[in-house]
Symmetry: C3
Subunit: 468 residues, 3 copies
């Protein structure tokens, strides 16, 4: 009898017995290392206040668009999943929908993480199914109300050493400051500067937001000059509050160096509400270049996440808001797009630039060759739809032969699902062990070196890439 | 001694003994299930009339451009393969060319299917080679003249439950009606509505064909309005004759919602022979949208097959016609292209939309994310050049981690080679078993669930996606 | 205890014991066959004069941009690697930088080749590391000064039967002629016609170079007509000196048939220094077509290497010149781009056209389908960043199911690193054995046929594709 998948200590390791045994040893070297999470979307206030988690559906289903999307695809309306603040159904009903849909998640990354956390975080007594949905809801609910499942206790159990959040440039970062001063909290919770909503002309409320930004942090300057100054100032504020990186949800990877007059003209046009979509693209490319320039100056690591068509289904967006499961990737290119920026900053001392992608064709074709030459370029770990066992193996296969193991960012969980963090990092460690074990089995890397490499990948790489 | 490849009961299963043993059990669950073939190109009249098959070359070589293309690449002129009605050589000579070229097919999908049907359909006594070409021609020829090899008997032997054909909108579907009424024929043979030749301005004879369409089915209306009405009427006629789907060999996946006046203007321009290539693209995109609208109304499942440059070599096209081996794929994108249609119909009740692709980069990047949100979108099985063991494994790996197993169309053989149907479906079942076996071996899916999933994939998925 | 990776006779073979044992037998069939290298960048004069090699750093590090790039990415300035003729540091210091960076190469193709040649060409006594850098420098240096490590002796030891160089159209090919006449030299050293610098308007010195070309070989004709005539004449000169192919480092795969007047107009514009970047692209596409036309006439095999953004980092280019590690691939397409040429020459008697790519998405989508129909098209082996174990396996998986094994070019080492040639060919043979062994283990190819196929791939394919 095999153990249930999530309880199998060999889960995700390769089937071939010889390779599996190598992988097991490699995994043992890193499985218990602390978690370093340099990019994600957990709310710092939750950790500051140690707020008890809500019921299981509100914690595990409604806010996680990785999970709700597949249930929606099976025909369940988003309101039944309490998306976008919908309250027409009870959390228990949402949980029942989830339990009914649970078999759909077999083979998916989300399904793997959930099963792993049901087993290892929550110690659920049974597999989820339609029949025991209510019982498991109650079992989980009871646990979530107990002190053992408070955020701070879980943070400790999860062995998290560093956790980065993602924050609005005007955020006062009070929770981060409070946590940093709290002697009872030993982990590092770092903010990340994310200025998208102040850069994309088409973002709802852009003009008002920018006006406020300039008023608050523009040193009395107006217009484009005040805007640039204010962004520089807020970045400095973030650095003072422990930030190590700035993140950019750009539409494409395009960069562009406009002169200040041209940039200001576009900016003013947008302030008057007259900018076209093409203007917005040009300005965004210019600002990506500017953000690199600021990173060179203030030392914040720069990460970009391009190539996603956000809010593909307008009706769902209008009714339930953003992040409701219909952000769809498209093809991107980096070689020509990044050139204006890399020409000027690609070899700049101390500059770290981490491109992520969901278009996996660029790993072997563009990103590995770029990271294999430019000291500033680190290869972003597989992101979003690619943050899954097979996709991670394809990633390593695609980049390693060109760029080796030293040029990667290390694992990024990129999640708002706090309870899934250990499962995600554990998955990554198992896959790294699996990939390296194959290279050892094929005499491409010595076993001794593989043991060094896996520790480097899991522990040193994120510290190095993110300057931790 | 290993058995010859086609006789090995473990063929296509993974080499690792533990994984193979899991795969064997999974295969046993589905190997003998009836064949459901919801998309293909077999001629219904052949089954109506139970016409004896012609000689082996005319049956197995000349009409199959998967086979003739590789022989042509090796230097054999198409006339020697009796393409496009060429009769300069005898069928036996064409068969000799095939036998001589047989080693070229090692490792190809076509070679695998042919070997499989030589073994399991025809029970050939020897491997094909140049020396025994004549003897095998005679052996096959004799079998093909016997009652055991008539179409209806093979249909029964193959255990086909449903077989869809592909038909011209003005086809009277008499063979389908005759088969449906025939109490001695137990399978379902369904027509499929394929209007390409009435939509693409550049298709030879477009204007005359459209004129006839409007005259026959336009309810007395003229021009664009009559055209739309006629298409609606003919779709209804197909539905009445059992059709469950409409298929579209579109150039790209672009969709577009034009107002009726703009569409009519383009249509009239084309009728006058004045439409440009750009006009044709716009009109085709508009009609793809219109076809989705009609599918929402009449319930026909909508399938698209974009991204193929048809008739790449003009000289071969002029001499031998279409489907002679030089249709070459190119890169396509779906995320932005499908949006106008999915905005309006993506969540429409009962709408089923199945995009196929030969550009495998879109599986993980676009199609799985789309099918993982929109209830209407089912992932088309690997098509054409991708309908092969390794490509099918890449497909499952690319889509499953995002969309699970429930969002796929199920296997489609898409073939005019009737005798290859069992080999194709059997290949697919073996690959599904292989993929699932690996997930079980890696503790990603429980063995019990894998047994449920493989039955779902093979049997329930095509029924679900195609409303059978 | 496992042997060190490079000493393991099973290195690169699949981990599964059954598959490995099949692969071992397949490898034994081809491991000792002579090396056929129909495309590369070794200097013929080195073999003519049998010049002793320089010190280890100047031989193995500085000229190899596969190696220097990753050291540069780790933060070492190119001058410390003695790039572009820099002499500020001693070779021994460059070697120390290499030794320090050596762990970065684990898992890379370059690392594998270097380790393999340290073991099998140089018989190094220890693994490279920072501590023994000096000792190994001295050990290698002493060997390189001994007669056993002269180019001609190594050429013999490497068992090279054919080695093609890459040459300027105006090169007098004296070294090739001298080698051909030398009875003590038994291998064939063949020139390759590479006219890029005479075709790309933007290449530095284009006008002067073209002027000289016309003066030398234009048969007294002037302008575009003289240019075409001169290219034809120089190709003939190459053919007379044993050339079998012409190579083209085109920007994209675009081909175009301009009439002579239009082409001449562009040419004249470029001579006046007035051509735009768009003009240059059009002219290059036209010349790719013209080169195909000439290949049809003079029989030179035509190879193209498109899709690389050369000299991505201008500052590094200005300081250190071309080929210094920042050539970065981008997405390309072939289906529409090659059509003008294939329409006219795709089925021309004796024409051989070999497209290479670093954009691996085109293997299954475009190149295999093209080579599976056009008798002239041979699939270029994995090139540059794709010339690595995993990438070669992906290549075989991507093309074989469509085009079988007969349509590939055979392995191309494409290297200027003479001492790495045996390692590169050996790697390829091991990967071919691994791929075929899997097909045998999965009953997709019989073991007997696999033994024939591997000999065909390794030995017959390059002779066939390159007319050797």
């Amino acid at each position: 009898m095999s153990p249930p998948p999530a309880a199998n200590p060999d889960r995700l390791l390769p089937a071939d017995p010889g390779t599996r045994s190598i992988a097991r040893e490699l995994l043992a070297r890193v499985e218990d290392l602390p978690i370093i999470s340099p990019h994600g979307h957990v709310d710092a206030a939750m950790l500051e206040l140690d707020t008890p988690f809500p019921d299981p559906a509100t914690l595990l289903v409604s806010p996680d668009h990785y999970v709700t999307r597949l249930i929606h695809a099976s025909g369940v309306p988003l309101e039944r999943l309490r998306m976008g603040g919908a309250t027409a159904v009870e959390p228990r009903d949402t949980w029942r929908e989830f339990a009914k849909a649970w078999p759909l998640f077999d083979g998916t990354a989300s399904g793997y993480w959930m099963r792993d956390s049901f087993q290892h975080v929550f110690g659920l007594s049974k597999e989820v199914n339609e029949e025991n949905a209510d019982a498991l809801f109650d079992e989980l609910d009871a646990k979530l109300q107990s002190p053992a499942f408070r955020p701070r206790q879980l943070f400790k159990n999860f062995n998290i050493e560093v956790l980065a959040t993602t924050d609005d440039p005007l955020d006062d970062l009070a929770p981060h400051a409070a946590i940093a001063k709290d002697p009872t909290f030993t982990g590092r919770v770092l903010p990340t500067f994310r200025p998208d909503a102040y850069i994309k002309f088409a973002a709802a409320g852009w003009a008002g937001r920018v006006e406020k930004l300039i008023a608050v942090a523009g040193d009395g300057m107006a217009g484009y000059a005040g805007y640039i100054r204010a962004l520089e100032n807020r970045r400095r504020y973030f650095v003072e509050h422990g930030a190590v990186s700035a993140d950019h949800g750009v539409r494409t990877a395009q960069t562009l160096r406009l002169d200040a007059v041209t940039a200001a003209t576009l900016f003013d046009k947008a302030c008057r509400g007259e900018a076209t979509a093409a203007d917005a693209d040009v300005f965004e490319a210019h600002m990506t270049y500017q953000m690199a320039r600021m990173s060179v100056e203030d030392g914040l690591v720069m990460t970009i996440h391009p190539g996603v068509f956000r809010n593909h289904h307008t009706e769902s967006f209008n009714r339930f808001g953003a992040d409701t499961g219909h952000d769809i990737p498209f093809a991107v290119s980096y070689t020509e797009a990044l050139r204006p920026m890399l020409e000027d900053f690609g070899t700049a001392q101390g500059f770290h630039f981490i491109p992520f992608t969901i278009d996996e064709t660029v790993f072997s074709r563009e990103i590995a060759p770029l990271a294999g030459f430019y000291p500033s370029v680190y290869i972003g770990a597989p992101w979003w739809f690619l943050d899954a066992p097979d996709a991670m193996l394809r990633f390593r296969s695609a980049v390693t032969e060109t760029a080796g193991f030293s040029r990667s960012s290390g694992f990024i969980d990129d999640t708002r699902a706090f309870c899934s963090i250990p499962a995600r990092h554990n998955t990554s460690r198992r896959i790294e062990a699996s990939f390296l074990a194959r290279l050892v089995a094929e005499s491409r890397v010595s076993e001794a070196r593989a043991h060094e490499i896996i520790v480097d990948i899991v522990d040193a790489a994120p510290r190095r890439a993110f300057k931790l």
